[in-house]
């Protein structure tokens, strides 16, 4: 079932034509949009005959006519907050909401602002960098995002700039079958340091197809957290692109708990010597939820280190997919690349698919991958019960222990604590204050 309607009557093209006609943007940006839309048309709507989309069933989306998003009001109480000072940008239906945002002063030259505004105020900082990262050229939703993004966040830290307060980016979708395409462009120049928290939330039914581009110069360090807590009816088809310069360090934590269907395609290019990259992913899914990570880590230069650790906890008829590629280019000697995928099934109907892949074209590297899927250990459950702990609490404790190991990798305390509470609430577990498990 492909959507191969003739071009001239294609409502999507018509929607695109109207969309760009109303954009007041530099020609270079409009040109990017047109190229991206053409790229999408060449790629087409993904089908399950394509290897990359074999397990992702998009048929539920295809029966829905998604709309260009409209302005919407949002209850401030539903927007997540982080304790402590933050640089906070809120987007509702993909549009910047300045009234809900808060931007403290920044060091000279640094910019944290709406991308939609920055393309006109600082085109010289955007045009050379937007849509330039490699890795997702074949991803149709990444192309659609470039064609259709209305707004998003632009974070630019010049050489040596370190901001301690986290950059908190909240993307809220207000339902109504809107198709939102929020964008993030983040550039850390040489030696810059930043901590970023991206949160996706919403209500009702909508399709969120965000794209984040994260570029790290030499010696830059990024702690990036992405929390997907979409509404239960929502579809999330996101993409994250990372390019790392020499000796840079990228730590990415991805948590996925919402949406009826959620997929993130993640492409990391280790494009300098001695780069370090850690990717941690956690999916909690239940009922009919589907959670999917497609990851490609590409080692292009020697002495790079990468570690992928992905976990899922699946209940009901939930399904998860982990497809992880480690690609080591010729010449990327002394690469140390590791990948693990661990899945915990809480019901017999739940399914986890794990597809580790290695392509190693250098001869002096260390690469390893491991994958495991299983139920809770009955011996461990009995051990806890034999000490008086009721069966439901014993199981919750074991699930918590499995998932909490992921949360402990997060150094940003307010976020880690919030996620611990979220996890405990999902498991109906009373955590003893100040004594969460290690």
């Amino acid at each position: 079932m492909t959507a191969a309607a003739p071009l001239f009557s294609d409502p999507r093209r018509q929607r695109f034509t109207e969309f760009v006609a109303n954009r007041r943007e530099p020609d270079a940006i409009i040109r990017l949009r047109r190229e991206a839309f053409d790229r999408f048309e060449t790629l087409g709507w993904p089908t399950r005959q394509q290897e990359a989309w074999r397990l992702t069933d998009l048929s539920a989306l295809q029966s829905i006519t998604f709309q260009q998003p409209a302005d919407a009001l949002v209850d401030v109480e539903t927007l997540p907050t982080l304790d402590g000072p933050t640089h906070r940008l809120v987007f509702v239906n993909g549009r910047f909401a300045p009234g809900l945002s808060r931007l403290p002063e920044l060091p000279d030259g640094a910019l944290i602002t709406s991308l939609g505004q920055a393309v006109t105020t600082h085109p010289e900082r955007i045009e050379p960098y937007l849509d330039r990262l490699p890795g997702l050229e074949q991803h149709p939703f990444a192309a659609l995002n470039t064609a259709f993004w209305e707004d998003g966040a632009f974070v630019h830290l010049p050489r040596g700039t370190v901001i301690k307060e986290p950059v908190h980016l909240v993307f809220y979708a207000a339902g109504g079958d809107a198709n939102v395409h929020p964008r993030l462009l983040l550039m850390l120049e040489d030696g810059a340091h930043a901590t970023v928290v991206v949160e996706y939330r919403g209500q009702g039914r909508y399709l969120n197809a965000p794209l984040a581009e994260l570029a790290l110069g030499s010696g830059a360090a990024l702690h990036y957290h992405q929390l997907q807590e979409e509404s239960p009816q929502a579809f999330h088809l996101g993409a994250v692109q990372v390019r790392q310069g020499r000796d840079s360090e990228a730590n990415l934590h991805l948590v996925s708990v919402g949406g009826q269907l959620a997929r993130v395609d993640l492409a990391v290019l280790l494009d300098g010597e001695g780069t370090r990259c850690a990717l941690n992913g956690l999916t909690l899914a239940r009922e009919q939820q589907y959670g999917d990570y497609h990851v490609r880590v590409e080692h292009a230069r020697p002495h790079g280190t990468s570690e992928q650790r992905f976990k899922s906890v699946l209940d009901g008829k939930a399904r998860s997919v982990f497809d992880g590629m480690i690609h080591v280019r010729p010449g990327a000697q002394k690469t140390d690349a590791r990948q693990t995928s661990r899945n915990l099934l809480l019901s017999k109907q739940a399914q986890a698919h794990s597809n580790p892949r290695l392509e190693i074209l250098a001869d002096d590297v260390k690469c390893g991958h491991g994958s495991s899927t299983g139920f809770l250990d009955p011996d461990a459950e009995f051990y806890l019960r034999a000490r008086g702990i009721p069966a439901t609490q014993a199981r919750a404790l074991l699930v918590h222990a499995f998932a909490n190991d992921h949360l402990n990798q997060i150094r940003l305390t307010p976020l880690r604590e919030r996620l611990a509470r979220l996890l405990a609430a999902r498991l109906a577990l009373d955590l003893v204050e100040g004594e969460s498990t290690p």
Binding site: I389, L397, V432, E435, S436, T437, P438
Partner: protein, 256 residues
């Protein structure tokens, strides 16, 4: 306090226990000795309520209550404790957190409020010294990466904190060197009291030099072949179990 009457147990349709009778009163310590495969661990697991064991005949009463009707957590809350032969590693659950959850589960069962944090801390520290356990073990995940001796000490430590009324020690001596054995035995002996009963299951007489039982039972091929005083353990040490190995099947297996 523990009465076992004509207990028959099968595992995967194979009869392992073939009619056990055993009564233990408060303040008594009984030992069960026997060769491998005689059914010692099956008895321990049935008392604690592990799945996979089918009681086809007989009963176990604990203070007059039908133990076999209770799930494992209820048995623990009623005051029963099993020191595991193979303590389970539970990554991600801190020892201290686990113990507090257990203490509070038992208190809740008794209708008591959660334990006061300071009282709990004092109790834990006092009991840690009893088994010469290092404080760092509290923060580590339950049994994860513990040596064989540390795991067994952790079992006795848990028992000391939970203060059960009746404890089954399932081969708590296996894999211990003599120093560790003494520490574990001292920990058990410190808990012995007129109100508390113990069932010590062991393959070797050595443990019984340190935890001296009132009665010794010899379990062979699913039945108690002989009962006697503590001197029976010494006799077994000298003569071994060969005297009791009369079942042809077992003898053949031993010869093979």
């Amino acid at each position: 306090m523990l009465e076992i009457r004509n207990l028959h147990v099968t595992v995967e349709d194979r009869e392992i226990l073939k009619g056990i009778d055993l009564t233990i009163h408060p303040g008594e310590t009984h030992a069960i000795m026997g060769p491998n495969g005689s059914g010692k661990s099956t008895l321990a697991n049935v008392i604690a309520g592990r799945e996979g064991y089918t009681v086809t005949e007989g009963e176990i009463r604990f203070d007059g209550k039908n133990l076999l009707d209770m799930d494992p957590e209820t048995r623990a809350c009623e005051g029963l404790f099993l020191a595991f032969q193979y303590p389970v590693e539970i990554p991600g659950v801190a020892n201290l957190y686990f113990l507090k959850a257990a203490v509070n589960a038992i208190r809740k069962y008794r209708g008591e409020p959660p334990v006061d944090a300071m009282d709990f801390w004092d109790l834990v520290h006092e009991r840690m010294e009893l088994v010469k356990m290092d404080e760092s073990m509290l923060k580590r995940s339950v049994n994860e990466g513990f040596s064989g001796g540390e795991k067994k000490r952790n079992e006795v430590f848990q028992m000391a904190v939970l203060q059960p009324r009746f404890a089954v020690l399932d081969e708590t001596d296996s894999g211990l060197d003599i120093d560790a054995l003494k520490v574990v035995a001292d920990g058990v002996n410190a808990l012995r009291s007129p109100e508390r009963g113990f069932l010590v299951i062991t393959h070797y007489q050595r443990l019984l030099d340190y935890i001296v039982p009132g009665q010794v039972h010899v379990l062979v091929n699913g039945k108690i072949a002989r009962s006697g005083g503590k001197e029976l353990a010494l006799e077994l040490e000298e003569q071994g179990y060969a005297l009791y190995n009369e079942e042809p099947g077992r003898a053949r297996r031993a010869a093979a």
